[in-house]
C-alpha cells in the first residue's frame, strides 16, 4: 500500500488497519511492530502535505481537537496545533498552567467541561504518570497522551522513529544510546519500547542515580560511562537535563554531569560518520549537548521537530478520520493541487 496525500484529501486514503491505534494513543506500550510501521508509513503521506505550497487538507473538517495541558509546553502544543490545522480540524486550548487545576482539583470536572465544547479528541499533557489513562476513562473523546509525568510520550517516540527511519531506512540492528536522566524521562520510556520493537538495540547511559530503580525486565543494557561506547553507536539520543536533580541529591553538579555524559565537541568528533544525534528539545546547550554537537551535520534535531507535525497528523487522522467518524469529507479539494 502506498498512501498519498491526494488520498488523504479526498477521503480514499487506504489504511491497512484504520483501528491500528485503537480508540486512544496513551503509550507505545501495547503497540507492536506492525502497528508502529503502519503509523510511520502513513506519516509519509502527511509529510508530503507539509511540503506543499498550501499545506492543508480538509480531512478533519468539522472535528475539534482540544489541547489540554496541565504542564507548560510550547513545542508539543504548537506541533499538535499545527497538525490539527493542517487537517482542517478546529482547535481549542486549555492550559492549566500553574492554576489550582494543575494541583488536580476538579480534574474530572475540567475534562467534562472541555468535552462540553464538543472536542472529539483531547491532547493531554500532565506532570503525573497515568493521568491521560485516567482521563480516557472519563470522556467519550479520543485521548492522545502528549506526555504524562515520567511515564510515556508516544508521539515523541513515533517522530523519533520516523526520523531514524527517514535517515537510515530502518531501525533494525541499529545500536542507539539514550543518554542522561532516564529515570525521569517519559521520552526514554516510550523510545525504549518503540526502538526495540522496531529491531534496534538500546543502551541506557547515565549515572546510576538517574537510571530507573528496576530495569531488570527492560529489553536494554545499562552503562554508566559514555566514552567506551561512542564509536559503536548508530545514534545517540540525549535527554534534557533538569537543574533540580542537584537539589534532589541525584548528581553533584551540572558541571560533573556535563563532563561525564554531555555530548561535547570532543565526543562528537569520535562518533561515526554516519551516526545520528537526536534530542527531544528544548536543549540545554553546554549541559547534555554542546553547541558544536547540536550544529553538527549529523544532528537531526530540526528534522525531529518537522517530522513531529507529520507524525501527529497521522495520529490525529487515525484516531478521528478513519473508521471512527463522519470522517473525511468526500467533496472536491479546493485550492490544493498535488
Amino acid at each position: 500500500m502506498s498512501a498519498t496525500a491526494a488520498d488523504a484529501v479526498d477521503g480514499t486514503l487506504e489504511v491497512a488497519d484504520p483501528g491500528v491505534l485503537g480508540r486512544h494513543l496513551l503509550g507505545i506500550e501495547g503497540l507492536d511492530r506492525a502497528a508502529l510501521e503502519e503509523v510511520l508509513e502513513l506519516t509519509d503521506a502527511f509529510a508530503e502535505i507539509g511540503r506543499r505550497p498550501i499545506p492543508k487538507v480538509p480531512a478533519l473538517r468539522g472535528r475539534t481537537v482540544a489541547t489540554v495541558f496541565f504542564e507548560d509546553s510550547t513545542r508539543t502544543r504548537m506541533s499538535f496545533d499545527t497538525a490539527a490545522r493542517r487537517l482542517s480540524a478546529d482547535t481549542v486550548a486549555f492550559a492549566a498552567g500553574s492554576s489550582s487545576l494543575s494541583k488536580g482539583e476538579g480534574l474530572r470536572d475540567t475534562i467534562e467541561v472541555v468535552g462540553s465544547y464538543g472536542a472529539d479528541l483531547l491532547v493531554v499533557r500532565h506532570p503525573m504518570a497515568g493521568t491521560a489513562h485516567r482521563i480516557a476513562g472519563w470522556t467519550d473523546a479520543a485521548v492522545v497522551n502528549a506526555g504524562d509525568g515520567c511515564h510515556e510520550h508516544p508521539t515523541q517516540a513515533l517522530l523519533d522513529c520516523y526520523t531514524l527511519r527517514e535517515k537510515r531506512g530502518a531501525l533494525d540492528g541499529m545500536r542507539i544510546a539514550i543518554v542522561g536522566d532516564v529515570r525521569h524521562s517519559r521520552v526514554a520510556r516510550s523510545n525504549v519500547l518503540a526502538f526495540t520493537a522496531l529491531g534496534a538495540e538500546v543502551v541506557l547511559v547515565g549515572p546510576a542515580t538517574l537510571m530507573p530503580p528496576a530495569v531488570g525486565g527492560w529489553p536494554v543494557t545499562v552503562a554508566h560511562e559514555l566514552d567506551p561506547l561512542l564509536e559503536e553507536l548508530d545514534a545517540v539520543y540525549l535527554l534534557r537535563m533538569q537543574r533540580e536533580r542537584i537539589t534532589e541529591g541525584l548528581i553533584p553538579s551540572i558541571r560533573e554531569f556535563a563532563t561525564d555524559f554531555g555530548l561535547t565537541a570532543a565526543r562528537t568528533a569520535r562518533l561515526r560518520d554516519d551516526a545520528l544525534i537526536l534530542h527531544p528539545g528544548p536543549t540545554n546547550p553546554g549541559v547534555e549537548i554542546s553547541a558544536e554537537a547540536a550544529a553538527d551535520p549529523r544532528s537531526v534535531i530540526l528534522d525531529q521537530v518537522a517530522n513531529g507535525v507529520s507524525v501527529r497528523m497521522a495520529v490525529l487522522f487515525l484516531l478521528l478520520g478513519s473508521g471512527r467518524a463522519p470522517a473525511v469529507d468526500a467533496e472536491p479539494t479546493r485550492g490544493v493541487t498535488s
Binding site: M128, A129, T131, P212
Partner: protein
C-alpha cells in the same frame, strides 16, 4: 429483649462446639445450650458464632472529615463486617491529642453500633516535635498511642515517648501500647507507590521497602533499650516481617498487624493508575505478600487490621500523586482473611477477634470466650456464602474499596453489640 443465636458452630479461644447462644437484656450472654429460644431467634445454622471482631486500625474521620466518614457510618460498616470494637485513629481534625477530643470521639461512639476505642497521638498535632499529654490521656482511658499517617521520625523523641510510656503502665493498669506507622519520610518522600519493577515501568515515583524497614529496625532497637510495648502497624515487607519475627524470638514486647490489602493485592494493581490502589505503606510485591502470609501463619503477625481509610470520591479522582492514600476495609476484612490469608477458620477468627482484643486492652468486653456472663459482643459468619463487593452497597460515606466487583467467600450474617442485634441477616438495623 432476649436474642438466641440458634444452631451455630460456636468457635472461641477454647475451641469449637455446636450450641444455641442466648443473649440477655443486660447485654451479657445468659445461657448456652440446646433448644434455647428467646424474644428473637436468629438462625445460625451452617454458620459460625464468634466473639465480635476488633479492628486495631480504623480511620473514622470524625471530627474533621465528615464528608468521607462519620463515627456513625464507620461503625455501621464495622458492624456489617462483624466488628464490635474499632480502635479509632487519631489523625482527625483537630488531632486526637488531648482529653477533649478523646471524650468527643468516645461520646459519639456511644451512640454508634460499635464500641469506639479512641487512640491518641504520641506527639502534639502528630507533628513529631512535642510529646502529647500522655499521662492525662492515660487517665482518660487511652491505652494506644500512635502518630499513624506518619511515623515518629526523631529517634530521640521516640526514645523519650517509649520511656515515658513505660512509666504510665501503673496508671493504666496494663502496659501502654505505642503503635508505629513505620516510614522514614526522608526515604519515602515523593514516592507514591512501591519502588520496583512496576514503578519503573509505570513512571510513578516509588518509595523503597527500606523506608518502612529502617523504622522497624530502629524501633526494635529502642524497645530493647526502653522495654516499651511497640505495636507495628500494617507490616508490608518481607524484611519487616523477618525483623519482627526475630524480635519476638528474643522475647521483646512487640506485636504486629497486617492489613487485608497487604496480603491480597500487589503493586501490579497500580498499572490501572487508579488511586484507589494508592495506600501507605504501598502495595508491595508477590514476595512481600507471601511473607506477610507466613507471618500470619507463624504468629509473627498477631492481628489482621483494616486500616479502613475512607476518602470522598472526588479526592480519589485526582492524579495519582495528589490523591490521598487509603482504602476501605471494614466490610471486606472477614471474607478476604478467610479466603486469602491461608489461615484456618479458627485462626481467622483469632486474628480478627481475640488477638487484636488483647492488644487493644479490651478483653473484658471483646474477644471473650462465649459462656454465660460474658459480654454479648458477637458475630455470626457464614463461611460458605459468596458475595460481590461493591462500594456503593457499603455503609461507608466513601466508595474507595479496591475490591469493587470482586466475588469473595465468607459473609457476616448477624452482629450482636452489647446484646443488641445491630446486623441481622446481613442488614444493618440502624
Amino acid at each position: 429483649m432476649s436474642v438466641v443465636l440458634k444452631g451455630g458452630r460456636v468457635i472461641d479461644r477454647t475451641g469449637e462446639r455446636t450450641l444455641d447462644v442466648e443473649v440477655g437484656d443486660d447485654g451479657r450472654i445468659a445461657a448456652v445450650g440446646t433448644g434455647l429460644s428467646g424474644d428473637l431467634d436468629l438462625d445460625a445454622s451452617g454458620c459460625v458464632v464468634s466473639p465480635g471482631f476488633v479492628d486495631l486500625h480504623t480511620h473514622l474521620r470524625e471530627p474533621g472529615q465528615e464528608e468521607a466518614e462519620t463515627i456513625e457510618t464507620g461503625a455501621r460498616g464495622g458492624s456489617l463486617g462483624g466488628y464490635t470494637a474499632l480502635v479509632a485513629m487519631p489523625n482527625t481534625d483537630p488531632t486526637t491529642d488531648c482529653v477533649a477530643v478523646v471524650d468527643q470521639v468516645r461520646n459519639l461512639g456511644r451512640r454508634s453500633t460499635c464500641e469506639i476505642v479512641p487512640s491518641a497521638a504520641m506527639t502534639v498535632g502528630r507533628h513529631g516535635a512535642d510529646m502529647a499529654p500522655m499521662g492525662e490521656l492515660v487517665d482518660a482511658g487511652v491505652g494506644i498511642f500512635t502518630d499513624d499517617g506518619t511515623g515518629l521520625q526523631d529517634p530521640r523523641l521516640m526514645r523519650r515517648v517509649m520511656e515515658y510510656s513505660v512509666g504510665l503502665a501503673g496508671r493504666l493498669g496494663r502496659p501502654v501500647v505505642l503503635a508505629q506507622h513505620c516510614e522514614v519520610s526522608a526515604l519515602s518522600a515523593g514516592g507514591y507507590m512501591h519502588e520496583g519493577e512496576w514503578s519503573s515501568r509505570l513512571g510513578i515515583p516509588g518509595q523503597p521497602a527500606e523506608a518502612e524497614e529502617l523504622m522497624v529496625m530502629r524501633d526494635i532497637a529502642l524497645v530493647r533499650l526502653t522495654g516499651a510495648h511497640m505495636h507495628f502497624q500494617h507490616l508490608s515487607t518481607a524484611g519487616s516481617v523477618a525483623m519482627v519475627r526475630k524480635a519476638k524470638a528474643a522475647g521483646l514486647p512487640v506485636t504486629a498487624e497486617a492489613t487485608t490489602h497487604h496480603f491480597t493485592l500487589t503493586d501490579a494493581a497500580c498499572a490501572s493508575y487508579d488511586p484507589v490502589y494508592k495506600v501507605h505503606p504501598p502495595l508491595r510485591t508477590d514476595a512481600d505478600v507471601a511473607a506477610v502470609k507466613e507471618g500470619l501463619a507463624d504468629g509473627t503477625i498477631d492481628a489482621v487490621a483494616t486500616d479502613h481509610a475512607p476518602h470522598a470520591p472526588h479526592a480519589k479522582e485526582r492524579p495519582f500523586d495528589q490523591a490521598p492514600p487509603g482504602m476501605l476495609g471494614l466490610e471486606t476484612a472477614f471474607a478476604l482473611t478467610l479466603d486469602e490469608s491461608g489461615l484456618d477458620l479458627p485462626d481467622v477468627l483469632a486474628v480478627l477477634s481475640w488477638r487484636p482484643a488483647a492488644i487493644a486492652g479490651v478483653t473484658d468486653r471483646h474477644g471473650a470466650d462465649i459462656q454465660p456472663g460474658a459480654p454479648a459482643n458477637l458475630c455470626v459468619v457464614d463461611p460458605d456464602e459468596t458475595w460481590t463487593a461493591s462500594g456503593a452497597a457499603m455503609a461507608s460515606r466513601s466508595l474507595n474499596t479496591p475490591y469493587e466487583g470482586r466475588t469473595m467467600r465468607g459473609r457476616v450474617r448477624h452482629t450482636i453489640r452489647a446484646g443488641e442485634p445491630v446486623v441481622v441477616d446481613g442488614e444493618a438495623r440502624r
